[in-house]
């Protein structure tokens, strides 16, 4: 069962993208197109422009770039900030998430939390969680997501080895179901799945 049944073409396309931050041109003439089933890893050293690119692709940054971007499908973006409210419990954080793409039943939420290893932590105030657990609350949204396109900025930050493996597994199954994933990471991925790579180099070329 494909999640992109309605849209058999591209999930994201951008062409001739040029991005300037501050005084610096990060890259120019970048073309990206994503098809269902694709996993794209954006690489580049610190400050190469990965985060900036993802924010432009997600539609969060709307100035300072040139080029055409089409986003035919809804997308899920996870950035450096975790969007986890410290005063809410993980359960509430997911059930009342401001990313309004779905209405989750409580059982779905608990199942998702269990999948990211937070079973037993559903009702602890989130500020009592460790750094990795905190991020896991946010990553649990991936298990609940209906969006075909995922844009993930360093999703493995603070996640332990088992967690990274299970995330990689999740990306593969999402891609196999017809979704697409764009992610940035400084760690090499160890998934058994064909990976597209995009290398951003400081200086502007790809």
């Amino acid at each position: 069962m494909s999640i992109t049944s309605g849209c058999d073409g591209l999930l994201l396309q951008c062409s001739a993208l040029t991005l300037v931050r501050g005084e610096r041109e990060l890259f120019s003439g970048l073309d990206v197109s994503l098809r269902p089933g694709e996993v794209l890893q954006v690489e580049g050293e610190n400050g190469a422009g990965k985060t900036s690119l993802l924010r432009v692709l997600a539609g969060l940054a709307r100035y300072g770039y040139e080029g055409e971007i089409t986003r035919p499908v809804p997308l899920l973006y996870i950035g450096h900030l975790s969007a986890v409210k410290e005063l809410l419990t993980p359960r509430e954080n997911l059930a009342w998430h401001v990313d309004g793409h779905a209405d989750y039943r409580d059982s779905d939420v608990c199942a998702a939390l269990a999948k990211v290893g937070l079973a037993g932590y559903e009702d602890v105030p989130s500020h009592q969680l460790s750094a990795g657990q905190h991020r896991r609350v946010n990553l649990a949204r991936l298990h609940l997501s209906r969006q075909p396109l995922w844009l993930l900025d360093e999703p493995f930050t603070a996640i332990d080895r088992d967690g990274v493996a299970s995330l990689e597994h999740l990306f593969v199954s999402h891609a196999k179901r017809g979704g697409a994933v764009v992610l940035t990471s400084h760690q090499p991925l160890r998934m058994e799945y064909p990976l597209t790579r995009l290398m951003l180099r400081a200086g502007g070329d790809l």
Binding site: A83, L87, L88, R146
Partner: protein, 231 residues
């Protein structure tokens, strides 16, 4: 993959409202604070300007309204602050529901835990400042409507400034003039009640200001938020 559908705009809005109210209640101080702040500032005035009842009663409408305005102004910055800081705001902008309604939910939550609450307890403070009983209902009604306007206008300021690391003074300068009419009509309402004049015209004015801001402010707030997240 869970087979759920995106919630409708209104139910999403209610969810947001519930979330914001829960957040407020988790910080009881945040709810209690405008009230305590109110109480304490009301206590400051007799200390500052002398305890004579007749002076105080004369000042009461002005003092109560100014303090209400201040406590609204001061808490307005928080409407979007924590959601900006922890990244929830970016997520809200990506939600498929119309931002117009979502920001209305945020502002409504702010209004409920500051303005409405203040309006409800205002008779207590009115009593402490010797305001005659006849003026209590119009004070409360005026605060109820006026604080709605102030929350909406404050929301605009908050949306424009939430992303700025520096600056923002300009914005509060810009916002303040919009508070002035509210203050003027608000105190006029109480004064009319004290003088035995009809208060309906003033309340109607405040009400129409509220309607106007409900219609327009969310547009400005949405635009402000998009700019702030980008900056």
């Amino acid at each position: 993959m869970t087979e759920t559908t995106a919630p409708g705009a209104v139910s999403f809005c209610l969810r947001l409202l519930r979330r914001q109210l829960t957040l407020a209640i988790r910080r009881p101080v945040a709810v209690g604070n405008p009230l305590l702040f109110f109480a304490m500032v009301v206590a400051l005035f007799p200390l500052g300007i002398g305890p004579a009842p007749e002076t105080l009663a004369g000042f009461a409408p002005g003092i109560l309204w100014i303090v209400a305005l201040l406590s609204n102004l001061l808490s307005a910055d928080g409407i979007f602050r924590s959601d900006f800081d922890d990244g929830s705001l970016e997520q809200l902008l990506l939600a498929p529901q119309p931002l117009y309604l979502s920001v209305l939910a945020y502002v409504a939550a702010h209004w409920l835990v500051t303005g409405v609450l203040l309006a409800l307890v205002s008779p207590l403070f009115a009593a402490m400042l010797d305001l005659p009983v006849v003026a209590w209902p119009s004070l409360a009604a005026g605060l109820f409507l006026g604080s709605g306007v102030m929350s909406l206008v404050g929301g605009i300021g908050a949306a424009l400034t939430v992303g700025l690391r520096r600056g923002g003074m300009l914005i509060s300068l810009l916002i303040l003039p919009f508070y002035m009419p509210v203050l003027i009509f608000g105190t006029a309402t109480v004064q009319a009640a004290l003088d035995g004049a009809p208060v309906q015209p003033f309340l109607a004015l405040l009400g129409s200001m509220l309607c106007l801001s409900i219609a327009l402010a969310p547009l400005a707030i949405s635009a402000g938020l998009r700019i702030s997240v980008d900056a």
